[in-house]
Every structure is written in C-alpha cells, then in structure tokens.
Amino acid sequence: MKYSIKNNNLNELIELAKKGDMEALEEIIKRQQKTVFATLYYLNAKPDEIMDITQEILFKVAKNIKKLKNPRTFKSWLNQIIINQFYDTLRKKQKSVKKVCLDNQDENKPNFEAPDFASNPYQKAVDKELEFAIKNSIYKLPDPFKAAIIMRELQGLSYEEIAQATNSNIGTVKSRIARARLKLQEYLKPYLS
C-alpha cells in the first residue's frame, strides 16, 4: 500500500514539519484552515477581511512551526496566533489610512474569494434564523468569554489548552465558559425550550 501523509495524525505531521517536511506542513495547513476561518468568523472579523487574516495566520504557523517545542501544545499555540493576529488587525485598522495599491494586478481576479454564504447549498439545511441568532449572541459576549466559548464549542479545546492559549489559569477558563453559557442561555432562550 502506498504511504500517504494524509494518514498521519496531527502530532506526527507537526514532528515531520518541524524537520522541514513541506508535504506535512501543507497537510497541517489543509486541516487547520477551516478552524482558523470559523474562529475568525465568530470573533466578528469583517467578512471581507476574514480571508486575509486567515492567510496571515496560516503563514505565521507555516513560518514558525519549527519554533514550536511540544506538538501537543499546537492547538493552544495556533489560538494564540489567531487571537493576536485578530486584535493586531483591529488595532492597525484603527490607526491606518486607506492605501492604494499601485502594483499591476488584475483587479477582477483576486487570489482568494471569501466563500459566499448565500450561494452554498448548505444554506438550505441550516436554520438561517438560528445561525444568525447564535452569531449575534456570541458577538455580544465580552471578548474573553467569546474567545473561551469559541475555543471550547467550535474547536473542542480542553480547559487546559484554552488556559494556555489565553495565558490564564484553568479556574478562570472554567468561570469564563460558565459566564458565556449563562449569557448565551439568556440570549438564545427562545431556541432552547
């Protein structure tokens, strides 16, 4: 049977990528891109910026993976990068003035297009109203609660991993997740009965 990198688990891929295996690195990016995209979506990044920030985060991951000491801390490390990049972009945007690119680029063909939610078939299956309510309820949460609940429910991170990613302790994570849940229960009451 032909060996395929796709059969390796994440830890094995990280070990290989740390040694310079580009195929393993490509597979890691392939597996993580949706997570990064979805996390940014619920952190309330602007739709037209999500793709740019996602690329920036994945590039940082690819560039710095050799510096990651323990593959088991990958998820925490990735989330640290996501959070830092997200808030960096917010800060820069507040300071920057709109710039015009003078490079000769074909404006009609951007490298990547943000997925168009309206044109995908899944739209039929998802209860749009519920999704909208959930998205807005998460947006309304204070930042630390928002990050904690996204990491837990969207990505399935353990409390320890969330604590590492947010530079806090497990008790704080437990309390933030509970607070987030209490608020979400209140906001989403009509959908929970």
């Binding site: 837990r152 969207l154 437990k174 989403l188």
Partner: protein, 151 residues
C-alpha cells in the same frame, strides 16, 4: 478629629463606615457607646444593618449559585476530577433542579455544536498551496539577500 461625645449628626456620617467595619478602634468604640445610649440612632442602625445583611446574603447566594453552575458547566465538558464527578452525579440523583440545569447546558452545547458544524460543512478553502509557495518565495528572497550581503 471628633472630640468629646459624638452627636446624632456625627453618627449619621459614621454609620455606614461603622457597618462596613472601616473605622479605627477608638471611633468604633465611641459610635458603639452612642448607639447604646441613643434609641433613635440605634433604630436607624438596625434598619441599615439589616438592609446591608440582606444585600450581602443575596450576593453570597448569587456567588454560590454561580459556583454551582460553573461546576455543572465543567461537568458537562467532562472537565472535573473523578471524585467531583461522583459527587455531582450523587447530587443529580437527588435534585430535579440540578438535572434541569444540566440538561439546559447540554441543550445549549448541542445547539452550538450542530450549528457550527452545519455552518462550515460546505465551505471549501484551499489555501495550503499558496501558503507553501509564499513560504518558499520568502526563503528564496532571504537567500538572495544574504548572498548580496556577502558580496
């Protein structure tokens, strides 16, 4: 600095810090002496003190309720120790209220999980090739830069 016996007016000012236990020992004693001898101020003290106690009690109850909720929430995430898990399960067997609260947390979890799954199920992202290309380009540029520096 208050000298001599305290007046009822002094007591009005000192009553809140007295209840909050924020007075020096000397002042605290003098307020206590006045209260013992003045039924009017004593009544005022009793009313305010009972209000304070009620608020404090409510805060303690609220904090306890949240602690309990946080524990249930961690239990639903399977993030409690085995001993704690046994304790919680024993409590659940005895309390319908706790069962209902746990059920609500699990319903919320399920609602979020299924929505997240559906929301991104059909999104196709193919960024891996371009990221690797960008990384290789950057490596090449750095190599060229180093070469130029050496020369």
């Amino acid at each position: 600095m208050l000298k001599g016996n305290l007046t009822c007016e002094d007591i009005s000012r000192l009553l809140l810090p007295y209840i909050d236990d924020k007075l020096s020992e000397n002042k605290r004693n003098r307020v206590a002496i006045h209260l013992r001898n003045c039924p009017f101020c004593m009544e005022k003290y009793r009313i305010i003190k009972s209000l304070f106690d009620k608020i404090q009690q409510r805060n303690i109850q609220r904090a306890k309720k949240f602690q309990q909720y946080a524990l249930l929430s961690a239990y639903c995430d399977n993030e409690v120790s085995d001993t704690m898990k046994d304790n919680i399960e024993a409590s659940l067997a005895l309390s319908c209220d706790l069962v209902e609260r746990t059920h609500k947390i699990n319903t919320l979890k399920k609602l979020l999980n299924t929505t997240f799954e559906k929301q991104f199920e059909y999104i196709e992202l193919n960024l891996e090739k371009s990221i690797i290309k960008r990384l290789e380009d950057e490596k090449l540029i750095n190599k060229i830069k180093k070469l130029f520096k050496r020369n």
